[in-house]
Symmetry: C2
Subunit: 668 residues, 2 copies
């Protein structure tokens, strides 16, 4: 624990949790809601804005279609929330959409969903963080030039938080989420109250004219514009399935608690989205894709940012410098930043499930130091950070990549659920039970159709705006997972033991000890080799320098080593190749026997000491692994300096001492 990397890791990660404390990290509903529902709830902060952005492409004229579009989104939200209530109850293991699809539709559709979900998790992080930063910049416009840096800083922060473990995150995230819900409801209540009392709040952008990009639309053109706006509004649904992937983190009864949390989430999300959209209409808030299309925009439309819809409404209702305005901005930013946390919970869990089924590298399956799946968390952070960097932290541009994957998994998941209920129906007995299954199937069938239609709409309207990247990414991910699986399967087949096979024990064991000089490390290697009582035992040296070899031979006699020393000539002054040839020769004459190669190694403590030692033995070891019927034994000799490095020597965890476990620092 003395290396600076370890110290840094400890500072960032805190002390590791013990596995037997895993039970303690299970979440009560009041903590599960903020952790898993922060994503769908937070999308209220940008869903309305995305609808307005599209509608204003046609100028102010089409803004009165806003309620229509928003109404569609609300219905969809209700359908999806209801559908996923069924999923969490039917599949409480946390596989979520992936498990539903893999089990009901087959492995390949399962992988498509898995790929879509992996993309979504990444996009959740990227979009939520960038939208959060949008709101911070709405409150503090001076930060606009540092947009990307602020985004990346938040990703680093979130990553560190999550590497510390789920429970600690829950506490940190409950307050801002509830604070945000409270703030939005207060905003809606006060805003609607003002309107009813005749003091209609007015947004700062209410008097802006808009330079329309699309004018004189045909009916078909208008329909397309409305569908595009609807697609954008569907961003309100993103993250709705997070709860279904997180069921195992709930307290018991897991499924029921998760379903209730899902219902609560749906109701709150619909109320907030409807309220905010209504206020945006009332306050006449204007936002456009390109600030230069705003006639009357104060500031340089090329460098200054527009304020977010939430910020404009909040300023109109509460006043632009009121405490309430800043409170709402802070909680909005916080819930958005923390919404990304949903993905930090779901992404490593999904990877771990995929790794267990051998669609992902096995090391994503093992948990890290901190009960969270560190490898997956770091992967997620890197990809999301790269996307934010590539798209300069633009929420609108990132959202184009977001919605497609979401609806891919929605549609496949609902379709899978219909199959599930079909099977259940065969098993169901009694009228009440059959009625329940029938109703459930109806809900999921409706959900499948609805989300399927939306998927087509999203694909058509968003393809050229960035969604094509997702259309490329999903098949690539599927192919990757498929080939990883094929690799593991072929290895498994190759390694499988034929029960009928007669076990042939190896013949004799021929031990070789590689020596370069006669000293304690060599002496120990010879001793250890002798202790394994091989059938033959030979010391082997490669003659690179005649003087050195002669000195070795002298010592060999002087100290009565007692085993033969074989000198291998090295025509190329190499080490690896002559030793290898010698071993190959031995093996050829006795193919059933085993060659056991003992290599004395120095263990040093400082990195630069490794530059001065063991170079040739490392190369030789790597090469010997390619020889069948050869085993390679490292006989380490710990030089004094190695005591400075031992990475676990001083590592203690509190639980360890309490449970009476001997820490590794006590031995040696």
């Amino acid at each position: 624990m003395v290396s600076p990397i370890d110290v840094a890791k400890r500072l960032v990660l805190g002390r590791p949790f013990r596995s037997d404390r895993l039970g303690e990290t299970l979440l009560p509903k009041r903590l599960a809601l903020p952790i898993f529902a922060s994503d769908p709830l937070s999308s209220v902060a940008y869903a309305t804005q995305e609808i307005l952005l599209i509608l204003t492409l046609g100028g102010l004229t089409y803004l009165h279609f806003t309620p229509l579009v928003a109404g569609g989104v609300v219905v969809l939200l209700a359908v999806v929330a209801l559908s996923y209530r069924q999923v969490v109850q039917a599949y409480p293991s946390g596989g979520g959409s992936y498990e539903v699809v893999a089990e009901n539709l087959g492995a390949l559709p399962g992988l498509v969903v898995a790929a879509a979900l992996l993309v979504d998790y990444v996009m959740t992080v990227a979009v939520s963080v960038s939208a959060g930063v949008d709101n911070i910049i709405s409150a503090i416009p001076e930060l606009n030039p540092y947009r990307v840096a602020v985004n990346l800083a938040f990703i680093v922060f979130l990553t560190a938080m999550n590497l510390r473990g789920v429970r600690e995150s829950g506490r940190a995230f409950a307050i801002p989420t509830y604070g945000f819900i409270l703030g939005i409801f207060a905003l809606i209540a006060v805003g609607l109250g003002q309107t009813l009392l005749g003091h209609t709040p007015v947004a700062e952008s209410a008097h802006y004219e808009i330079h329309a990009e699309q004018v004189g639309l045909s009916t078909a053109g208008l329909a397309f514009l409305l569908l595009r706006a609807f697609s954008s509004g569907c961003t309100a649904l993103t993250g709705a399935e997070a709860i279904s992937n997180g069921v195992p983190a709930f307290r018991k009864p897991k499924a029921r608690n998760a379903a209730r949390t899902m219902t609560a989430m749906g109701v709150i999300a619909i109320a907030m989205f409807a309220g905010v959209t209504a206020l945006a209409m009332i306050t006449k808030t204007r936002v456009v894709e390109n600030a230069c299309d705003l006639i009357g925009f104060s500031g340089d439309c090329h460098t200054d940012a527009q304020k977010t819809v939430i910020a404009q409404i909040s300023a109109a209702v509460f006043g632009g410098h009121s405490v309430a305005f800043y409170y709402l901005m802070v909680t909005t930013a916080l819930i958005l930043i923390l919404a990304a946390n949903t993905a930090y919970n779901g992404f490593p869990l999904l990877n771990s499930i995929l790794a267990q089924r051998r669609y992902m590298p096995r090391q994503l399956h093992t948990r890290g130091d901190r009960l969270a799946f560190s490898n997956g968390i770091i992967l997620l952070a890197v990809v999301a950070g790269t996307l934010i960097y590539a798209f300069h932290g633009s929420t609108t541009r990132l959202i184009q990549l977001y919605i497609l994957g979401v609806f891919t998994s929605f549609t496949l998941c609902q379709t899978g659920m219909v199959r599930h209920w079909n099977r259940e129906l065969l098993r169901a007995e009694g009228g009440a039970e059959r009625l329940r299954v029938h109703r459930a199937r109806l809900i999921n069938a409706f959900g499948a159709c609805f989300t399927g239609v939306v998927l087509v709409v999203v694909m058509i309207t968003k393809f050229t705006h960035g969604a094509y990247l997702v259309v490329i990414a999903i098949p690539v991910l599927v192919a990757l997972m498929w080939s990883i699986h094929r690799h593991y399967s072929s290895v498994r087949t190759e390694l499988a033991i034929d029960p009928g096979e007669i076990e042939t024990l190896p013949g004799r064991v021929h031990a070789l000890v590689l020596v370069s000089g006669w000293h304690k490390a060599t002496q120990q290697a010879v001793r250890f080799a002798r202790a394994t009582r091989p059938d033959t035992l030979t010391a082997v040296t490669v003659n690179v320098d005649d003087d050195d070899t002669r000195a070795l031979a002298r010592d060999w006699d002087k100290y009565h080593v007692g085993i033969p020393l074989k000198v291998i000539e090295s025509p190329y002054r190499e080490i690896t190749r002559p030793v290898l040839e010698e071993i190959k020769r031995q093996r050829k004459s006795r193919p059933r026997d085993v060659v056991s190669v003992f290599i004395p190694e120095y263990v040093v403590g400082r990195w630069w000491e490794n530059l001065l030692h063991n170079q040739s033995s490392l190369r030789l070891k790597a090469r010997l692994l390619f020889e069948p019927q050869v085993m390679v034994t490292s006989v380490p000799w710990q030089l004094y300096s190695s005591h400075f490095r031992d990475p676990m020597r001083f590592e203690h965890s509190p639980g360890e001492i309490r449970r009476g476990i001997t820490g590794p620092g006590d031995a040696a």
Copy 2:
């Protein structure tokens, strides 16, 4: 031999030499002269120029001091050549100055010389290549914008040549060196002939006026300017000791052949330097540090390069577009580029000597594929290339870093030789012998004084012009070598066997086989472990996933493995730590016994397959090396894909087959 790196290596390096052909690579004098003397001879190409550059700082006035300054250099050259004749005879082993000083003055002065020589070798490469490129640009001015790139290309070329081995270099270098000598003597003969016949050749720059940077010098100022010019002229001496470092590469009688080559080199160098300087005076060649100080310079003085002195003289004597002019430019450029080869011969040899004495990492001692010392060659090329890049390929700026190191080693070497002769004098018998030693001592004493004075002059006049970098580099190198030596010594002490010590054989051997599942790789590991007949044999698995562990336990019974399976709980879902704790526990109860850990490993062929396997076993192996009384045995299982990788499988050398050696490709 299928990896692209290997193919590239083979294309660059050619087939490896066999060690028993080392004798064939010894050099006859006619090849040794061009190889080792190309450095001192080639410095004729720039030494005169460097004198003129300094003198013209004071305008045209001081140019008539040129013969004085050049005369000093000639005397010095004679003294140094005579001195080194003695060195090659007294120390024919190739250690050169380093050996002389280390043996006569002690280890620390020896290291100072070694450091100075290492710096010099690097500077030889950098200066010679950049000066060669200067002459190429004098002939083809269009290349000026690509100066640095051309420099680096030549370094890459030289490095590749040298990695192929000494002999092939010798052939390639003999022709240009003799061509250069012939060309310069022809130039001198024709030029002096023309002058005597009254057709005095006139340089293109003869009519240029010079904007003097230093005007109205005091006597002290003049003296300093002359000393500075002399210091610069001393660059003619660089490389004079190359022969003394290369004696072992000569044919027998090595010492006498080397001494004769040294004499020939001295005579030729003096004649050429004197001739070129005379012609520079006759043709009124002007060169200045900053081309903008030349009044009348045709072209843009900021971007265009001045022609070198050799180019100007040659154009004046032969005509600027004559075949003879281009011939001389080509041979000058070639000998300069190839002079760098002297360093390619000396640098790895010195490193190898230092490595043998444990002042450098041991791997610099082992020879590479090609009888040359590849590691040292590559190191040299990288450092020289970096310097050229940093100084934009400016010969004049690089030369400032060159001379100091040269005279440090000259002075110390001559001082060492005086000591040597003092000792010889005590042993010498007979008048003739004593007279010979007395005369030798006199020569070296004179050389030591002379070069010592020059060292002081160089230090004073060049310090601020870049030599301070060398003043920093030498102590750093000395400290580095000293600490490497101290490290090796302390390791040697730590490892030394006390002859009085009673050999305690290890107690019992406890074998542990790490298993994660029951398959062929595990089965083989258990078989091999059993074949070593340990006192106890246990299979150990870490419970990371309950299902997997249960499946393993089932297989264990089903296949009647017959050794106990111990399940270690892993509270942190780690692999390394629980295994380590288990081993520590075992060792604690039986400290004299040895624990032998068998790790089944998959050997895969493609790099990405490694990402999917062996991650935890690698970490565990690295960590186990820190445990005393533990040996770690890798039991490799070669998966089918491993056959695609085996780096030596298809590697054959021609000599191998002829000598009936079984190539590694034949087994398996």
